[in-house]
């Protein structure tokens, strides 16, 4: 990085204006989240009469308490954890060995298989045949169907393969002379070497799992299988779209608005907890497929 240059007056003003604008942007990025948080902690009366705009009005946790009492909320929360953890682990278990094998020149048919995988990035059958295929495989309304059917994508395989290709082949050769076979080389040498790339792929998978709703909505019919995002869609989106036309409800310490806010806040907490850990990857710049020594 450049050392701090000495600026002229005009340039210093430029810097100040830039900083002010960026501050505004940053606040804009955060504001909606702050807003729903405050909304969720305001009284039902304040929430439905639109008094809240920055800080909670008539501070109360009633809405949160109400949401927390809902067993379906917790079931969907637990489901999301299940889908995220098993889904990410399944993805890694499939992606890492495949990418390792594809990174080796001695693999026969490497180009063909690489194309076979990459082709799916440019052409896929689309929603309906994919859906019908899952139906034929009897994976509708199945937990494991959700885990398996979305375990892989070509991008992650290629990302991981590129990383493995960037690892110096002498590590493999040294391990081979030391008597390691391919499984051992992968497990004891390449996986430890590839930790940053694995973390990246795991992160991409986990975020997609945590945030995705579409296919869970399409495939899962049983209420106690649905993940959080589908629960959110049902409670926050569908209810709101109908209710807000119908108008507000009864005399409670919470209102539809504050409940909505509480559900959103409670569901975003894990993301907010994990975010500081992962964002340092991104503030450093992209390191996807980065080379280690």
């Amino acid at each position: 990085m450049m050392s701090r240059p000495i600026y002229s007056v005009g340039d210093r003003w430029f810097g100040r204006v830039n900083a002010i604008l960026l501050t505004i942007f940053a606040l804009c990025a955060l504001y909606p989240i702050v807003y729903v948080t405050s909304l969720s902690m305001s009284s039902g009366e304040a929430g439905s009469s639109g008094q809240v705009w920055l800080w909670p009005v008539e501070w109360t946790l009633a809405a949160h308490q109400h949401v927390v009492k809902n067993s379906l909320f917790w079931i969907s929360y637990a489901n999301t954890f299940f889908y995220t953890v098993t889904g990410t682990l399944t993805s890694l278990a499939l992606v890492i060995p495949a990418a390792y094998a594809l990174s080796k020149a001695r693999l026969r048919g490497r180009r063909v298989i690489g194309f076979f995988i990459a082709f799916t990035m440019w052409f896929h059958a689309g929603m309906i045949p994919f859906y019908l295929n899952l139906r034929d495989l009897d994976l509708l309304d199945s937990r494991w169907g959700i885990v398996i059917a979305f375990a892989l994508n070509a991008f992650n395989v290629i990302l991981m393969r590129n990383f493995f290709e960037s690892v110096s082949p002498t590590f493999e050769e040294a391990a081979r002379i030391d008597g390691a076979n391919d499984f051992q080389i992968l497990w004891k040498v390449y996986i430890p070497l590839a930790k940053p790339a694995i973390a990246t792929v795991a992160l991409l998978c986990a975020i997609a799992r945590w945030n995705g709703y579409f296919w869970s909505m399409v495939l899962l019919k049983t209420e106690d299988k649905i993940p959080l995002q589908v629960f959110l869609k049902k409670t926050v989106i569908e209810v709101n779209i109908t209710e807000s036309v119908a108008g507000a409800i009864s005399q409670q310490p919470y209102s539809l608005e504050t409940i909505t806010g509480a559900i959103i806040v409670l569901s975003i907490i894990p993301v907010l907890i994990v975010y500081p850990m992962i964002q340092k990857y991104f503030t450093k710049g992209v390191t996807l497929g980065g080379i280690k020594e």
Partner: protein
């Protein structure tokens, strides 16, 4: 020396020998290959349904062929044309309005000298990317709520009428693109920031000695240096114009806004998944996928032309 012996010398080892020696590699690859075959290629075989009169009772194989009937039906349908048009419009507006934002953001972030401030800004603007579409839609709905949403409160305070934006077709694109910018612009700036980081610092130092202002350095050094990145990403976007965020649209649209909001994928979803007209929806999907593939290939050609390195 006999011909057979000659050829065995020319070949280092036979396929079978290689597979036996490296069987573990093939074993590692097998699960993924099976996965792609089952979940990506098998559905491609299922595309035939687009050319059949599908009946649940007869199944995919038993249903009779109807050739291009479904395509004819589609192209005679105003709704399908509306979906194509909406897809293109949303893509076009995103391309023009949304894609410059991350570039500007990256340029601005790059001008920040203090590491602490820079990290803070980055942390803040990347955050929305990690918020799910459902939550974003929830927040949008809350903010725009006609009864007590912030936006309408503000309008009222300014003496304007309350509007239920989400039921008004003329507002849909603005809402969709605006909230997409909020969600993704920060995160999308990462790739441009990375490109900016790759610029040789000596360029700036010599420009500084030549007396360039910061503005001049941005326009004469930074922007031209990241132009290849901008070009490649622009071309990729062009190739993906048919890919609009249907998962997000489904959350935001209502029958009253279909006029501007219904895109090809949402049309497929409604007709196929919700309406169970699999054959006609699959035909729309085939059309979409084929056009998308052509666009992507053209875009890749273009990008090769611009940068001599293709996207793939």
């Amino acid at each position: 020396m006999s011909a057979a012996r000659q050829s065995s010398i020319l070949k280092d080892s036979s396929l079978l020998q290689d597979i036996r020696r490296d069987w573990m590699l093939y074993a590692m690859l097998l699960p993924a290959v099976i996965w792609f075959a089952v979940f990506m290629y098998q559905p491609m075989a299922g595309l035939q349904i687009a050319f059949k009169q599908y009946s649940v009772f007869k199944g995919m194989q038993g249903s009779p062929w109807v050739g291009f009937d479904h395509f004819v039906t589609l192209f005679q349908s105003d709704f399908f044309w509306r979906a194509i048009l909406n897809t293109l419009m949303i893509s076009f507006y995103s391309l023009v309005l949304a894609s410059p934002v991350p570039i500007i953001l990256a340029l601005m972030i790059n001008e920040v000298q203090s590491t602490g401030f820079r990290k803070t800004v980055q942390t803040a603007v990347y955050l929305p990317h990690f918020v799910s579409f459902v939550i974003v839609a929830g927040i949008v709905i809350a903010l725009l709520s006609p009864g007590n949403g912030l936006v309408n409160n503000a309008l009222e305070a300014l003496g304007l009428d309350r509007t239920y934006f989400l039921t008004r077709p003329e507002w849909f694109r603005t809402i969709y693109i605006g909230s997409s910018i909020w969600k993704e612009a920060g995160f999308d700036s990462i790739i441009y920031l990375a490109a900016i980081m790759g610029i040789n610092p000596a360029l700036y130092e010599s420009a500084q000695i030549d007396g360039a202002t910061r503005w001049q350095m941005i326009t004469r050094i930074t922007l031209p240096s990241i132009l290849p990145t901008i070009a490649v990403l622009f071309v990729i976007r062009l190739g993906n114009v048919l890919e609009v965020g249907y998962e997000y649209i489904i959350l935001l649209y209502q029958p009253t806004t279909y006029d501007t909001a219904d895109v090809i994928s949402t049309y497929i979803y409604r007709v196929g998944i919700q309406g169970a007209r699999y054959d006609i929806a699959a035909a729309a999907g085939v059309f979409n996928a084929v056009v998308a593939l052509i666009l992507v290939l053209v875009a890749n050609k273009l990008s090769r032309h611009f940068t001599r390195t293709g996207v793939f």
